[in-house]
Every structure is written in structure tokens, then in C-alpha cells.
């Protein structure tokens, strides 16, 4: 039974490991852009990252303005910071797979 496999060398574990690797059972393909695959997933993810950072910046600016009574200056400042944070998120999204 074992002889007709052809590859006699290597222990059973090694052969099992090789077979598992061939079938792609061991390691799923390296993740791209946070586990989502396909252009659709990446596009959606980029959009969500940009908008959510902007929303957080907007919320912080609006809240601080209400608290400190400095409207609209902190809102303007934090919306710009939120936009920059969104760009940073997207940058991290595409840098991560190569960097780790």
C-alpha cells in the first residue's frame, strides 16, 4: 500500500505535510488587505476606512466645539485631521501585507 505511492523517502508526517500543502489545507493564502479578497472587497474597504476616519474627525471637532464654544474652528481643524487619518488608514491597509 505504501510502496505504490512512488515517493518512498521521508516519514509519514513529511508526506502528509507535503500533501496538505499541495491541497492548500495548511496555510490559507497570505491575506491581502485585511482578509478581504477581490477588487470589490478592497474598494469597499478603502471607502469604509476613508469615511469612518472622516466621521470620527467630524464628531470630535463638533463635540469639542460644542464643549468649548469655539465653533466652527475646531470642527474645520478636526475634519481636516480626519481626512488625513483616512489617508493614513488606506496607506496602512496596503502597506501591511508587505511589511509584516
Amino acid at each position: 500500500m505504501a510502496e505504490d505511492r512512488g515517493s518512498g523517502e521521508g516519514s509519514l508526517e513529511e508526506r502528509i505535510a507535503a500533501a496538505r500543502a499541495r491541497q492548500g489545507l495548511d496555510n490559507p493564502p497570505p491575506r491581502s488587505a485585511g482578509g478581504m479578497s477581490g477588487t470589490w472587497g478592497i474598494g469597499l474597504r478603502v471607502g469604509v476606512e476613508l469615511v469612518s476616519a472622516l466621521a470620527v474627525g467630524l464628531a470630535i471637532g463638533w463635540g469639542l466645539d460644542r464643549w468649548l464654544g469655539t465653533a466652527p474652528w475646531l470642527l474645520i481643524l478636526f475634519v481636516m485631521a480626519g481626512g488625513a487619518a483616512g489617508i493614513l488608514n488606506v496607506y496602512r491597509l496596503f502597506r501591511a501585507p508587505a511589511g509584516r
Binding site: V48, V56, A81, N89
Partner: protein, 251 residues
């Protein structure tokens, strides 16, 4: 039901109503709560029943339980590293709660609790608090260096620190909105095409033939929704793992 009024009523499926009669109404126990209880019970049942046999050669249920255990374990090890094993129960619970919530929502008459921003935001907030807590526990005050990359000129700190803080807080929003938006969009699309079937079907013989097209689309959409239900649960868990990796290793 929606077509009788003449319009498309795609959003009423997300309305909350209380269940369990007067008792449920008194404590505000909605069908979202009920489906959360069902999801939790089913996950528990799957694992308890799966682990009961303890066979060397697993049966179907035990194989399913083992595959789900090993799948999440390998994901945690891959994304967080070896230290991540400590957080395996957290990720496992999160993944299976969301997965069962998404999948149960596809059954007829079921309610998708993951289509409510309140619930996805609460889940994201749990992840956020846990990862921040892990980072503070492991690194103490050193954690705050996360908001200022080493080597950057100190003069730029007023610019970099707010941006990094916003970027960190935006995890909360992006994590919750992604799951919420995916589930809502899928269910709205299903409902819209289902309404087309009823509308066209009531328009005579030609309409019945025409109704085959939205029916075909809906069949494809249900398959697509199963994929989305799994993928979104997976993405949520993977992102929680990535945030845990950041918390454990900083930078």
C-alpha cells in the same frame, strides 16, 4: 405583502417588535434579543454535542466542531502570533456569534440582528475596549507611544498625534459600519427583487414569464448572501486579530 400597497417596502424587515407576549413587551425583549439567544444556544449546542462523542475518528458533528476550532486557532496564530493563543476564546466567540447571526438571518422569517448598527457597534466597542485593555496591560504607559511613530520630528507632534488618535478611533466606526452595511444591503436587495417577483407575477401571463428574471436573480443573491455572511464574520474576526496583534506588539 409589500406589493399590496403598490410600493416597495424594503426596510420594514428591520423593524423591532417584542416577542414572548406581555412578558417580552414588559421588559422590551425584541426578536433581535431572541435571535441572539438562539445563535448563542446553537453555537453552544454545536460544540457541546460535537465534543460529547470524543471519538478518535470524528463523526460529522465532531468533525464540524473540530474544524471550526482549528480554523479559528490557525487564524489567531497566523495573525496575532504565538502569544495570541491566550485570546483564542475571545476571537472564537466573536466569530461564531457573528457567523450564526448572519447565517440565521438568511432563514425565512428570521431576523438578522447583525443588520442593526447598535449591535455591530456594541461588538466593535467590545473589540476596541479589549484590544486597548490588552495593550495597556502589556505595555503600560508605553502604549501611548503608539500614537507617535519613533523617529518622527517632535515639532510635528501636534499634527501627528491627533491624526493617529483619529485613525485609532476610526477602527470602531469602520469595524461596525462594514458588518452593518453589508448585512443591510444584502437584505434590502433580496427584498426588492422579491417584491419585483410579486409585482410582475400579478400582471398576467406576460408578467409571470417576466417574473422569472427577478426570481433567478434572487436565487443567485441568496447564494451570494451566504458568501457575504461568512466573509463578513471572517473579516470581523480577522480585523479583531490584527488589532490584537497591534496591541500585543505595538507598531
Amino acid at each position: 405583502m409589500a406589493a399590496e400597497g403598490g410600493g416597495i417596502d424594503a426596510l420594514s424587515q428591520f423593524e423591532l417588535t417584542t416577542v414572548l407576549g406581555p412578558v417580552g413587551a414588559a421588559v422590551g425583549f425584541t426578536q433581535a434579543n431572541a435571535w441572539m439567544v438562539i445563535a448563542g444556544a446553537l453555537v453552544t449546542l454545536l460544540l457541546v454535542m460535537g465534543a460529547r462523542a470524543r471519538a478518535v475518528v470524528p463523526g460529522r458533528l465532531q468533525a464540524l466542531a473540530e474544524i471550526s476550532y482549528e480554523g479559528v486557532m490557525s487564524m489567531v496564530e497566523q495573525q496575532v502570533g504565538h502569544e495570541g493563543r491566550r485570546y483564542f476564546p475571545f476571537i472564537f466567540t466573536l466569530f461564531f456569534f457573528i457567523l450564526f447571526g448572519n447565517m440565521l438571518g438568511l432563514l425565512p422569517y428570521a431576523f438578522t440582528f447583525t443588520s442593526h448598527i447598535a449591535i455591530t457597534f456594541a461588538l466593535a466597542a467590545i473589540v476596541f475596549v479589549v484590544t486597548t485593555g490588552v495593550a495597556l496591560a502589556r505595555h503600560g504607559m508605553h502604549f501611548f507611544s503608539y500614537f507617535f511613530p519613533p523617529g518622527a520630528p517632535v515639532a510635528l507632534a501636534p499634527l501627528i498625534v491627533p491624526i493617529e488618535v483619529i485613525s485609532y478611533l476610526s477602527r470602531l466606526v469602520s469595524l461596525s459600519v462594514r458588518l452593518f452595511a453589508n448585512m443591510v444591503a444584502g437584505h434590502v436587495m433580496l427584498k426588492v427583487f422579491a417584491t419585483f417577483i410579486v409585482m410582475l407575477g400579478s400582471a398576467g401571463v406576460v408578467g409571470v414569464i417576466g417574473a422569472a428574471f427577478p426570481l433567478a436573480i434572487n436565487v443567485a443573491l441568496v447564494g451570494f448572501e451566504v458568501l457575504v455572511a461568512f466573509l463578513q464574520a471572517y473579516v470581523f474576526a480577522v480585523l479583531a486579530c490584527i488589532y490584537l496583534h497591534d496591541a500585543v506588539h505595538l507598531h
